[in-house]
């Protein structure tokens, strides 16, 4: 029972990160119908930069800020320089170009930093508080919850309460109509990519300390887990992404806790298969069909 409680909190904490990362995937998918397969690599890249800054300045938070802002910049540049030029006549094009980005980023990171795991320190203790003898969650977990909650809240406010959010949604749903109404659709796309990449970078900063550390491939499994989370929630649904993230986080935590950490990726694959074959529109969609 104690263990179950601990694993639940641990799962929710992981799930919060997957939720944020999945949210970033959903943001871009809704705006461009591209699943950004490079998002994991982009997040790792900014995390490397962030930790380099931390190491050079001795301030974790400066590095943290640089990582998130770096994500913003990297996302904008990616959209402007690469993704904007992708031909949309085939779904394959966007995926393949994103994979090219993965290779470039991982190659460049490997050249600069090498392929050894580097420690990624956490800003807070990862030692769990105990309440009545039961280990619950750590300061770092609280930080994760807080950061993800804040990001989700900010995104909700942005999209539902501000005119920029309205422009972004309109651009995603109806680009031509939006342009006729004076919306700078291209700019909104850039902004969308920038925001998504920043959220991805934040998720990276939150997850890397709990995994093995920094490595060019460190986010590969996180990407797959978060993609699964996004699919579980329905790729079009921001709320679904958050719910899907928590579900995947809990699943991974229970599986790792009871069956062993090596089984976790297999569990994710099974979940993905089951959802894709059973409810391709996501667990929360009303119809089971999805035409892509």
């Amino acid at each position: 029972m104690d263990r179950f409680v601990f694993l639940t909190f641990d799962g929710l904490s992981r799930g919060a990160v997957y939720a944020a990362f999945a949210l970033a995937l959903v943001l871009i998918w809704r705006a461009t119908r591209i699943v950004n397969f490079a998002q994991g690599a982009m997040a790792v890249a900014t995390a490397y930069v962030g930790y380099s800054v931390s190491a050079a300045t001795g301030s974790y938070w400066l590095g943290f800020a640089v990582a998130v802002l770096g994500g913003l910049l990297l996302g904008a540049v990616t959209e402007r320089v690469v993704m904007r030029l992708v031909d949309h006549s085939s779904h394959l094009n966007g995926v393949v170009v994103a994979l090219g980005l993965v290779l470039v980023i991982q190659g460049v990171l490997g050249m600069i930093y090498g392929n050894e795991f580097r420690p990624a320190e956490a800003p807070f203790s990862r030692e769990a508080f105990t309440v009545g003898g039961i280990a619950l969650l750590s300061r770092f977990d609280l930080f994760v919850f807080g950061a993800v909650f804040l990001v989700v809240a900010l995104l909700v406010v942005l999209f539902t309460r501000t005119s920029v959010g309205l422009r972004m949604r309109a651009s995603a749903f109806a680009p031509d109509v939006s342009r006729l109404l004076g919306v700078n659709v291209g700019g909104m796309l850039t902004l969308g990519w920038a925001l998504a990449a920043a959220v991805g970078s934040l998720a990276g900063m939150l997850v890397l300390p709990t995994e093995l550390g920094l490595h060019p491939n460190a986010m590969d499994i996180v990407f797959v887990s978060s993609f699964t989370a996004a699919v579980v929630g329905g790729l079009d649904s921001a709320v679904g992404a958050v719910a899907g993230g928590l579900i995947v986080g809990l699943l991974l935590s229970y599986v790792s806790g009871y069956l062993g950490a090596t089984v976790a990726p297999i569990a994710v694959l099974l979940l993905l298969v089951v959802v894709l074959l059973g409810r391709p529109g996501g667990l929360f969609s009303r119809s089971a069909a999805r035409a892509v």
Binding site: W29, I34, V35, F37, V82, L85, V86, D87, S89, S90, H91, L92, N93, G94, V95, V96, V97, L99, G100, L101, V102, L103, V104, I105, Q106, G107, V108, L109, G110, M111, G114, N115, P216, N217, D220, I221, F223, V224, F227, T228, V231, L235, G260, T262, V263, A264, P265, I266, V268, L269, L272, V273, L276, L277, P280, R290, V292
Partner: protein
């Protein structure tokens, strides 16, 4: 099958099947002779590289059929290769020392296992499109190390297994170079694969593949069983990946999860995209590229004067970056992306 099925481009180039088949056979024999001659001209290390090209060619040819001709993107072919490779390791372990024939059994077993695995993935894949399929196959690629670790009694985790391979048959002479033998083995597999695939995609099946890729609804109306065609394409290409993986196991004489990373799967996709998706000739270029580019960067790093640590970093990662950049540039430069790459190749 109705006339609407055959795309216009094909109509002009269609010729009676039988002469074609003979032509492919002639091509295969000519290629075999050339390869054998080449193996006598090349030093051992080059022969090993040649062998690697052959092993890659099995996989890229199969992937060209799947992605280029049928429009299904798989990021999991590295994992399918792994199933073939591990099977070879395990079968050879059981049959070690009983003679050359065991290798054939082991490779066939590797193909069979990969085919079954591909069939399972393909059944799922036939119901998925675009990024969903890409995501699923990526997940398959990611679980390879996890499976090796979870069932470590069988697969021995990250260390992997060693693969027993007999020395070249004595009939070839006592001093027959091992690398030449490897090249022969790999290219026997590669030429057989390409010959069979070329024959296969020329016929009815090939037309069905392309029809499904170009317009599923139209293909369905024309009487093509879309789902079955897609599953079959996956099965065929998985069998090729299994053979390629089996050959890799034979060449490296060991298998481990590290030999089948995600980047391998991405490399394969990159190779066929850059090679040109429309034809098996593109698969050849892709396979050559997969061996040549890392080799080139290796020579490059040897030229520039850097510390061994830096050189090692460059060597491992420069090809990655170059592959990635090439892939992006090719995709963006080709108007229409993948579709025009197909067209360009078909016209060429």
């Amino acid at each position: 099958m109705s006339v609407t099925l055959a795309p216009k481009v094909d109509a002009g180039t269609r010729v009676p099947a039988a002469p074609r088949k003979h032509r492919y056979l002639v091509w295969a024999v000519v290629a075999a002779v050339l390869i054998v001659a080449l193996t006598y001209a090349l030093p051992p290390f080059r022969n090993y590289q040649l062998a690697t090209v052959g092993a890659y060619l099995c996989v890229t040819a199969g992937l060209t059929v799947l992605t280029g001709l049928n429009g299904q993107l798989s990021l999991g072919h590295g994992a399918l290769m792994a199933t073939g490779a591990y099977t070879v390791a395990m079968v050879q372990e059981k049959l070690a020392g009983r003679g050359q024939w065991t290798l054939l059994v082991a490779v066939l077993a590797g193909i069979a296992v990969a085919t079954v695995a591909g069939g399972i993935v393909g059944l799922a894949a036939a119901r998925l499109r675009g990024p969903y399929l890409a995501g699923l196959t990526l997940a398959v690629a990611v679980v390879v190390p996890a499976i090796a670790s979870t069932f470590d009694k069988t697969f021995n985790s990250d260390q992997g297994l060693s693969v027993y391979v007999d020395p070249p048959p004595l009939a070839l002479g006592a001093t027959f170079p091992y690398e030449r033998w490897q090249a022969w083995l790999a290219w026997a597999g590669a030429l057989l694969t390409v010959f069979l695939l070329a024959t296969l995609v020329r016929g009815r099946f090939g037309r069905a593949l392309r029809a499904v890729r170009d317009d599923e609804a139209a293909a369905r109306i024309a009487g093509v069983n879309v789902a079955r065609t897609q599953v079959l394409a996956f099965v065929v290409s998985a069998a090729c990946a299994g053979l390629g993986g089996a050959l890799f196991a034979v060449l490296a004489q060991s298998v481990s999860p590290g030999a089948f990373p995600i980047s391998l799967s991405l490399f394969l996709v990159m190779a066929i995209v850059i090679g040109g998706l429309g034809s098996l000739a593109g698969a050849v270029w892709g396979a050559v590229l997969l061996v040549a580019l890392p080799a080139l960067t290796h020579s490059l790093t040897e030229l520039i004067d850097v510390s061994p640590a830096v050189a090692q970093r460059l060597e491992g990662n420069l090809p990655l970056a170059l592959f990635g950049i090439t892939l992006i540039v090719v995709m963006l430069a080709a108007p229409g992306g993948i579709a025009s790459l197909r067209l360009r190749r078909r016209k060429a």
